[in-house]
Amino acid sequence: MDSHTLAAQTAETGHIEHGADHPPFLRHHFENVPQQREAATFGMWLFLLTEIMFFGGLFCSYLIFRNWYYPAFVAGSHTLHIWAGTLNTTLLIVSSFTMAMGVHAAETRMRKALMGWIIATLILGCGFLCVKAYEWHDEWVEHHVPGLNFSPEGFLHGTKDYPDDKLPLDMAEKTQVYFSLYFAMTGMHALHMVIGVSLLTILLIQVYGGKYVNGHVAPIENFGLYWHFVDIVWIFLFPLLYLISRHQ
């Protein structure tokens, strides 16, 4: 085949039939593995942008309602445990680090290291969910769950740590807006964590079977992007829910 025929064929089909030269994971419509990986990254980022809009809407309503029912949001925020939020932020950041190291292990084709980093990420992710479950349980016990067992009682007379949190009854009722957004945001975030942990378990089984350490990095890398995104959402939830109202 001379170069002219080859050029014509390339222009027509977009790629050349390599036959056995293809790695098995290279899809037919891509020229080579880097191009396939670039397309996968692009697609993943488009998905993450829709996620930014989704969580962005929640953040936006949080900011608006915080201005709207300011004393209720401050009092509601005072009931959260800062130590739990800080611990969870730490767990997530370390898990982002282990996941980044996992991507590195996939790129350098080290199967055992990749499995180790995935397992570490799984443990840290589950640790985060356990702390979150503990907090939610605490809020249930305190009657802070709107629609299920909410009571404004705790916001009428001040608390041990915040004796000045004495809201009038109508404003105390509005702490339900804070807790609704709190459960919506931390709940959606935790749902993303559960999905992430589930996907990561599947990836772990596949890596155990020998996948993704043969140059086919895109699935691991894209999962990494998802995991880091979920980390970023928490990076903003932490100050907004736990920190900024402490002295107000």
């Binding site: 370390v94 590195h104 990076i235 402490r246």
Partner: protein, 117 residues
């Protein structure tokens, strides 16, 4: 020979613009370690600062630190610093659109009769 001809052809087509496949850059574990440690330090800082009464600036400082952390995660953990122009443009365009949406919504709410809803 065939492979060479192919590459030559491709070069000819794509040379003036961004290549369709970006040379992959493997980020070193040292970078991940430095970024991860910085993120943990910033987490400690933001938690510690929340114990100091800065008035309105508690929120400003906490959100500024969160923005720095987000930027570090995006640039290094998510490899955007080492990515193709296409990826960089996608991320930038997404955040720009998001900021426009937030700004428009906030502009609407802030110009309403606060206190009389």
């Amino acid at each position: 020979m065939d492979q060479q001809a192919h590459e030559h052809h491709e070069h000819h087509i794509f040379e003036p613009s961004e290549p369709t496949h970006h040379a992959e850059h493997i980020v070193s574990p040292r970078v991940y370690l430095v970024v991860g440690t910085t993120l943990l330090i910033l987490t400690g800082t933001t938690a510690a600062v929340s114990y100091v009464d800065l008035g309105t600036f508690n929120a400003v400082v906490a959100l500024a630190i969160a923005c720095i952390k987000m930027t570090l995660v995006i640039l290094f953990f998510m490899h955007v610093k080492y990515s193709s122009k296409l990826t960089k443009l996608t991320v930038a365009a997404g955040f720009f659109t998001f900021l426009v949406l937030i700004t428009m919504t906030m502009t609407d709410y802030i110009s309403r009769a606060w206190g009389r809803w």
